[in-house]
Structure formats: C-alpha cells, structure tokens
C-alpha cells in the first residue's frame, strides 16, 4: 500500500515545492486540482493523509474538513498562516488532527507526517538504520554497530554522524552541522564542532573504520561510497 498523501494547496509554487520535498521522504503526493470539488477528488484519490490549507478559493479548509469527515476518519493536517491566529486546540475542534504554520518547517512537517503514519497505520517511516561500509547506525537507540561491537556515541557525535549519513555522498557544510546541533539545544561554536568531529573520527578509527568521514577543505565534511 503506497503512502499516499493528498495536498490541498492552491498556490502552485508552494504545492510543487512541498510535493517535491515530501516525496523525497518516500511518500506519494497528489496535488488537488479542482477546488470546487475537493471531497469528490478525495474520494478518487483515497489518500492516507490530507494536508489541507485553510485559505483556499471557493470554500475554505474548514469547510472541506467537515465534508471529508462526513465519510472518512482520515488524518487531516491543516496548513495555516501566522495571521490566522489558530492553535492546535482550534484545529482539533474543527475536525483536524494537527496543524502546521507557514513558512513550513520541513523538519517539523516530516516529524508530524511520520508521527501520524505511525499512530494511524502502525507504519514506521523508513529506515530506522543508516548504513555505510558495514557499520550500522541505529536511529532508535543512538548506537553504532560494527563487526558485532557496539560503539557508544555522545549526543553530538550521534547527530553529526546521522546528518552525514542521511546526506551520504553530498558535502555537508560545517554551518549545517552546527545548525543541526543547535536545533537539539546544543549551542556549539566553531571549535567545539571541530573537537566533536575529531573525537568521532578517533572512535571510528579505534574500531577499524579509517577515513570514514572525509574533509572537503573550505566546504565541509562528507561520507561517500
């Protein structure tokens, strides 16, 4: 069963951008076309999740939510603008399951979609592990397994390794790594990052994983095949 999401957003550019991003996470995204007959389109598409913008032509998101709810309990996530002055309690009272505000934070959107699929359909987002050269990074318990041995990583080291592996074969800038760490409330500075990467490399080398992380001078780090 494909993980199909219906996106009801009338702004073409935004709809395309969202579709492109969400599809890279392994979902199938269908963008609604007829804003006068959304509930009919919903019946045709049969999605597992609906991303529903509030401000639409003809009828607004709340109206379509009510319409869809007449026949289905499918999870609905509202997309709101900050000036809508809406909060999650209102969203739920209106029949929705969650809401996300513009401008859309992709990390948050990814987490919300993942959570809904897990809750509603017991589906886990792929994958729970990241792998490279025989070493498996377990995203659930933050450990690195290699050759039957478990390597413990600090929170920062884990975050750095996860980011590099998620973007395998692309250069990840130091700024990007630092931003990821700050999002975890670790306010590292330039030196700290260098120290963390060095320590991580030492740990990997100690287990025989030489040159796991390569440095691209002036650009960042990379894990490549």
């Amino acid at each position: 069963m494909g993980k199909r999401i219906m996106l009801v957003e009338d702004d073409h550019a935004l709809a395309k951008a969202i579709k492109d991003k969400v599809e890279t996470w392994g979902y199938e995204v269908v963008v609604a076309k007829d804003f006068q007959h959304i509930s009919e389109e919903f019946q045709e598409i049969q999605p597992l999740l609906v991303l529903l913008d509030i401000n639409l032509p003809f009828f607004n998101g709340f109206y379509w939510c009510t319409e869809i709810r007449k026949a289905s309990n499918v999870p609905i996530v509202f997309i709101t603008s900050a000036s809508d002055n809406m909060n999650i309690v209102m969203a739920m009272n209106m029949g929705g399951d969650d809401l996300i505000a513009k401008p859309i934070d992709l990390d948050v959107l990814s987490a919300k979609i993942g959570a809904i699929f897990r809750r509603a359909y017991n589906m886990h987002t792929a994958p729970n592990v990241l792998e490279h050269r025989g070493a498996t990074l377990n995203l659930n318990n933050g450990t690195l397994d290699y050759n039957g041995k478990q390597i413990d990583l600090t929170k920062n080291e884990f975050k750095i390794l996860t980011t590099l592996l998620e973007k395998k074969n692309t250069i990840v800038s130091r700024d990007m790594l630092m931003t990821k760490l700050w999002q975890d409330d670790c306010y590292v500075e330039e030196n700290t990052l260098t120290v963390n990467v060095t320590r991580l490399r030492k740990k990997l080398e100690a287990e025989g994983l030489e040159e796991f992380i390569k440095t691209k001078v002036g650009q960042g780090y990379i894990i490549e095949d």
Partner: protein
C-alpha cells in the same frame, strides 16, 4: 545621528471649561458693562424728564418721587435679569463640559442669538463625530489590509524557504536574507497588533525553559552565520504569561544582540526576578540609553550602512507593558549591553522552582 520622532505630547493643557471660570463679583462687573446701554438709556430718560420739568418750572418734588420709583423698578428689573444672565451662563458652562466629554444636549433657546449659535454648534459637533468615525474606519481598513498582506507574503517566503534548502554557500547566504525578510514581515504584523487596542493576550502557564529554547532555535542560523557564541543555562521555572508576546520580546532582543555584536558571546540568564540578555557588542552610548525605547529612535549605532527603523525596541516595550513586565538596559560602549525583562516572577505571575 538620532532621529527623534516622539509622538506629540498629549494635551495636558487646562480644559476649556476651567479657563474662564468667573466669580460672582466679576459677573456683576461684566453684566453692568453689558447692560451699560440700558442703564444709559434709563439715565438719559430721567435727565430728559429732569430738564423738561425744570425748564417748565414745575414742582420738582413729584419728579424726584417719580425718579426714585424709576430707579427702584429699574434696579429690580436689572436684578431679575442678572439672575437669568448668570443662570444661562452656567448652563452654557455645562454644555462646554459636556462637549469636552464628547457629549451634547441642546440648551434652552431664548434669543435669536442663542438659536443661531446652537445651530452652528450642532453642525460642528456632527462634523467632528463623522470625522472620528471615518478615522476609526480607515485605521481598521489599514490594519485589515496589512494582515492580508502578511498572510499573502508568507506563501512565497515558504516556497523560497523550501527551495533554498541546499547546503552550498550561496544558498546559505540566501537563507539568511530570507530570514531577515521574514523578520520584517513579522514586525509589521506585531506593529499592528500592538498598535490597536485588541485584547489578544492569552495567559497560560508556560515552561520558561521551553520558550527560551524555541526562541534560540529560531535564531540559530543567525548566530552560526556570524560565528557568535551563545551561553544559556537551562532553568526550571514556570511562569504565567502569554507565550506569543514573551517570545516576541526575547526574539527581538536576541535579534538586536546579534545585529550589534561582531564577535563574542550573547548570554541569556534567568535570575531571581528577571531574564537577562547580554552581549559583547558595540554597546549603547549613555546619551542614547534613556531614549532607545522611543518610537523611531535610532541613536548612534555605528551602522552607517543599513537603516534601522527604530521600531524594534519600541514594540518590545509596548509588548512588555501589555504583559505587565518591565524592560530595562545597562550598557558600556565598546564592551556590550545588558537587557533585562523583569516582573516575571512577581507574586501573581509566577514561581521559580529550583
């Protein structure tokens, strides 16, 4: 140099009704002056009688008797007239006070003069009211338009945000600029929300740590881009506040800290009675210090390149007032500045849990 655009001082002049309060003595004086023509007429009539009687060699005794009666009745008449004069004056004073409170009720018409003036007053009063209504309507209209505008512009900002997710240096530079655009857009929304008297405050219990951390996360890219350090020790504290407005204040202060610090550290510290946000930036001159919360005040900020709107701290102060908090600042030019948000832990608003 500083641009001073303080709002015009609220009119603390004496209300019109106080300006011309006349005591009884003065009233009598004025009445007599006004009635001088009547008095002169009566006097003239009496003199005519006196002269005619005299020239006709008539007996003066009846004349003097008549003269005394004249004086007596004139005096009585003038007294009655005087009391009516004073009463009408007091009525008009009441009307003046009513108009000062934007209220109006017609007074008794007695003379053609009063009628005419009443019609003029009524016309002016109506004009005034319709201008006020028109003004209110235009303000609401303006606010509605800008709310719609903010709403509309969030969409292309959102699109750009997603399209610029690549990790190259140009993309990162673009994202920083996009963030700045977003900040200005949010500023517009908050300007209107704080300007109107809308009661959009919702107090609830908030974990201060969570709130501060989410503000930091939002501004992380700016810190990293400028290679500034951040120091913050998590705290355990629950407070009663509106998280939206408190976030706005903290974010604005963080934004300023980053803007005016070229290198060093920005620290956030939660003390017994305040949140302290300090930086190692260029600081604020002592002459500018008492005025930085004024609307439109930019002061000397060493940034000859970009123009500051002078609104950030002004809006912060408004928001703080709305939350019954107080903003204060100390600074040393060249060393750094320290901003304090105090009043969070007052008896009614919150408790610190250690």
């Amino acid at each position: 140099m500083g641009i001073d655009s303080r709002k015009p001082s609220t009119n603390k002049q004496m209300p019109h009704s106080e300006k011309q309060k006349l005591g009884t003595g003065k009233l009598i004086g004025r009445y007599i002056r006004e009635k001088l023509d009547v008095l002169l007429l009566v006097a003239a009539c009496n003199i005519v009688m006196l002269v005619v009687f005299f020239l006709y060699r008539l007996d003066m005794a009846p004349f003097f008797y008549a003269f005394l009666l004249n004086v007596f009745f004139t005096f009585c008449g003038l007294c009655i007239s005087f009391f009516r004069y004073v009463a009408r004056h007091r009525e008009r004073e009441k009307l003046l006070m009513m108009l000062e409170n934007n209220d109006y009720a017609a007074i008794d018409q007695q003379t053609l003069e009063t009628e005419d003036y009443t019609r003029i007053i009524e016309l002016l009063y109506q004009r005034c009211n319709s201008l006020l209504s028109e003004h209110d309507f235009l303000m609401e209209d303006s606010k509605d338009y800008f709310t719609l505008w903010v709403h509309q512009i969030k969409t292309p900002i959102s699109v750009l945000d997603m399209l610029l997710k690549d990790d190259s240096q140009e993309m990162r530079a673009c994202r920083v600029e996009l963030f700045r655009i977003e900040q200005y857009v949010d500023m517009v929304l908050n300007y209107f929300r704080l300007g109107s008297n809308s009661k959009d405050i919702a107090y609830k219990e908030v974990e201060l740590d969570t709130l501060i951390k989410s503000c930091i996360r939002k501004y992380a890219p700016l810190f990293i881009n400028k290679k500034l350090k951040l120091s913050y020790e998590p705290v355990q504290a629950k407070i009663l506040t509106d998280d939206k407005w408190l976030s706005f204040i903290i974010e604005q202060l963080l934004s300023n800290a980053v803007k005016y610090t070229s290198d060093g550290t920005v620290s956030i510290e939660v003390t017994d009675n305040a949140i302290k946000i300090s930086d190692t930036g260029i600081g604020i001159r002592s002459e500018d210090l008492p005025r930085i919360f004024e609307k439109g005040y930019t002061g000397f900020n060493g940034r000859s390149g970009s123009k500051s709107s002078g609104l950030g701290l002004y809006l912060c102060n408004l928001a703080a007032e709305r939350l019954s908090l107080k903003l204060s600042v100390t600074s040393e030019p060249g060393k750094g500045s320290q901003f304090y948000i105090s009043g969070l832990f007052d008896k009614d608003s919150g408790e610190r849990l250690e």
